[in-house]
Amino acid sequence: MARGLVTEAELPAVRAKTSRWQHGWFVPYLFLAPALFFYVGFLVYPMLSSLWISFFDWDGLSPTKTFVGLDNYLKLFFNDEVARRALWNNVLWTIASLIVPTGLGLSFALALNRNVPGTTAFRAVFYSPAVLPLVAVGLIWSWMYNPQFGAVNVFLKEIGLGAIARGWLSDFNTALPAAFLTSVWANAGLPMVLYLAGLQSINREFYDAAKIDGAGPLQAFRHITLPGLSETHVIVLSLAVIQAFKVFDLIYVMTYGGPGQSTQVLGTWMYFQSFQYYHAGYGAAIAWVIAAIVLVIAVPYIRRMSRS
């Protein structure tokens, strides 16, 4: 027990005495210093440095750069078909991420919230893909999509749908959706966990009151569950969008941007431009487009997080 234990009666007096600083104004900053060092030094400063680079034409290796102003950004939006394709792929991926893995996660959460036996085990199963390195996820599903030996095509042939079996990752039309399906497997778990926590925080009394009033399950869902989850929605949907614009690992491992650059996303196109084609300035511009979009979308999310 701390030596200076105070009684209930003395508390207000104690609070009054210690509400003012007895140590210097710089004390908080001393505590913050290491974190600020790493955060500013290895996140914020590189980010600003990238912004600077994005106004230049630079190969990343030589000591000289050429100033080009907004040319890199103009090229991205107006002159580079692959970049436009990449942006479009990101948009598609994002819209799909807002619907599929989150919808699936919500369904799992609703099901698990009914106190079915084995909830912990089910939750673990559905979440488990999210703990794997994405490289492994990509390689596992590349194997499943193997045209000759992979589980997907073998399964399709077994159930008589052999006609639609194909090289899923080789086909211009199915490569991106196939990669997206992989990300659904990997990413439905987090929404599920978040929604489950959100569901469990909704006051039970609301449901009891509704039942007494004669409301059916659907009405309860619409008028109690959904509104009760509004906070969780903000977080889940923001995270989904943020994740979707940052996509890199799966595409790099599964399709390498192909076939024919059709599955490039901004994250991978930036990598190719900066580290394979020696266009560091252009790559930085692409990276900043990703950052700008994500930061804008994340504002409500960050606001919510800072309020709690």
Partner: protein
């Protein structure tokens, strides 16, 4: 106190005396290559032999394997950008090495050529291919030729023989299709495997002169012979002469159908013999023929691979010594497993255990003319554009005429954005 001091100084003196008399500082040479596991096995004795002959030099091997020219240059570039590259490294020829040379990251080796008299060691076409702006930047390691490798037993079974013209080749494919066998197999994941077929069509339809001009971007893609070449690619896909759905298959994987007897041909280089051995294939079932291009001279695709020394290396002399060792005929004759496809003249492989290497050695040291490869003629960015159009033709996204036009437009845009 004095006693302790005495004992201490005695101990220190003893320690100094007992320390091995290292008159020479050991230099560590970092050696960066694309060796995969089987290649490392065959190279270990070579490295050990060098270390034994040069106890003051330690050689450390660093590798990036598997995706060919797709990933290794990235890794090399990363290490150069970080200021910490290896001392010497493996490199393909042509434009893959271009950016490194232009960025001043490669040490010119004319002085070592003089010191070690390397010019006498290799066929002249190889040395010429490795020069840039009149300077020598690399020392030949391999002279690689590529050809159509085929299953002899399948050809025998259906009464087929080496095609002497493109028409013959088509006849072979038609016959095989009738027997439900794929004519050829390719893996399109990185683009450079089907590229070999397309390059062959370019050579066949455009002829040597125009093809070379296209490689150097001094002739337009938007011409009839190029349209014809793309049309041939489309034909091979539409006629189902190629194993389907191959755009995301890796080149290694694409060999499987051939091993299983479901496909008859593939375009590979002299290294195929080692690959067949590593995959426990019966060498007697395989042979190769040079691509029938319907032109005189009948060129075949070939390229040198080289050793380069980094400009940042602190041990260029030791690196050169190592290069001299590994390109010397004596060394190569002692360790044939590591040097199949060598560029060093007069190193004859054992024709009994490596019959195909033997055949290749003859071809490569002859005067027969060669043509380069698209992924070596163009920088990675331009090559990726080339592959994008290539994939588009394969998938039916571009009609051949559009493909030629689009390729020319993109090549011009690239040239404008990347003035040399």
């Amino acid at each position: 106190m004095r006693k302790t001091l005495a004992i201490c100084s005695l101990a220190i003196a003893a320690a100094i005396a007992a320390a091995p008399a290292e008159a020479v500082d050991k230099t560590t040479l970092r050696f960066f290559t694309i060796f995969d596991a089987p290649a490392m096995e065959s190279w270990q004795p070579v490295i050990d032999a060098f270390k034994a002959a040069n106890p003051d030099i330690d050689v450390k091997v660093e590798t990036v394997a598997g995706s060919g020219a797709a990933v290794y240059p990235d890794v090399l570039r990363t290490s150069m950008a970080s200021g910490d590259p290896a001392d010497l490294f493996f490199m393909w020829g042509g434009e893959i090495a271009g950016p490194f040379i232009r960025a001043g990251q490669v040490r010119p080796v004319d002085d070592y050529y003089g010191r070690y008299k390397w010019k006498d060691r290799f066929a002249s076409w190889i040395v010429a291919r490795l020069q840039k702006d009149g300077k020598a930047y690399g020392v030949p390691y391999h002279a690689r030729g590529m050809a159509f490798w085929y299953r002899k037993d399948i050809f025998d079974k259906y009464g087929l023989s080496d095609p002497k013209s493109y028409a013959d080749l088509e006849a072979i494919c038609t016959k095989l299709k009738g027997a439900n066998i794929y004519c050829a197999t390719f893996g399109g994941k990185f683009g450079w495997h089907p590229m070999r077929l397309l390059d062959y069509f370019f050579e066949t339809k455009c002829g040597p002169e125009v093809h070379d001009k296209i490689f150097s971007l001094t002739a337009s893609f938007d011409q009839q012979c190029v349209v014809d070449a793309y049309a041939l690619l489309k034909k091979w896909v539409d006629e189902k002469w190629l194993v389907p759905d191959f755009l995301n298959v890796s080149p290694d994987d694409s060999r499987m159908p051939m091993y299983q007897g479901n496909a008859a041909m593939i375009i590979e280089g002299g290294w195929m013999e080692d690959v067949l051995k590593a995959n426990d294939q019966d060498l007697k079932l395989y042979d190769f023929f040079l691509p029938p291009t319907d032109h005189q001279p009948q060129r075949y695709p070939a390229f040198p691979e080289q050793w380069m020394i980094t400009a940042a290396s602190k041990h260029p002399d030791q690196a050169a010594k190592f290069i001299d060792f590994i390109t010397a005929k004596d060394t190569q004759v002692k360790y044939p497993a590591a040097f199949s496809g060598t560029a060093t003249a007069d190193v004859k492989p054992d024709c009994a255990t490596s019959p195909h290497d033997c055949k290749w050695a003859e071809i490569l040291s002859s005067d027969r003319q060669t043509y380069g490869l698209s992924d070596q003629a163009y920088t990675k960015e331009l090559a990726d554009i080339f592959f994008e159009i290539q994939d588009g033709v394969i998938a039916g996204k571009y009609a051949p005429a559009d493909a030629a036009k689009t390729m020319q437009a993109k090549a011009e845009a690239w040239k404008a954005a990347n003035p040399r």
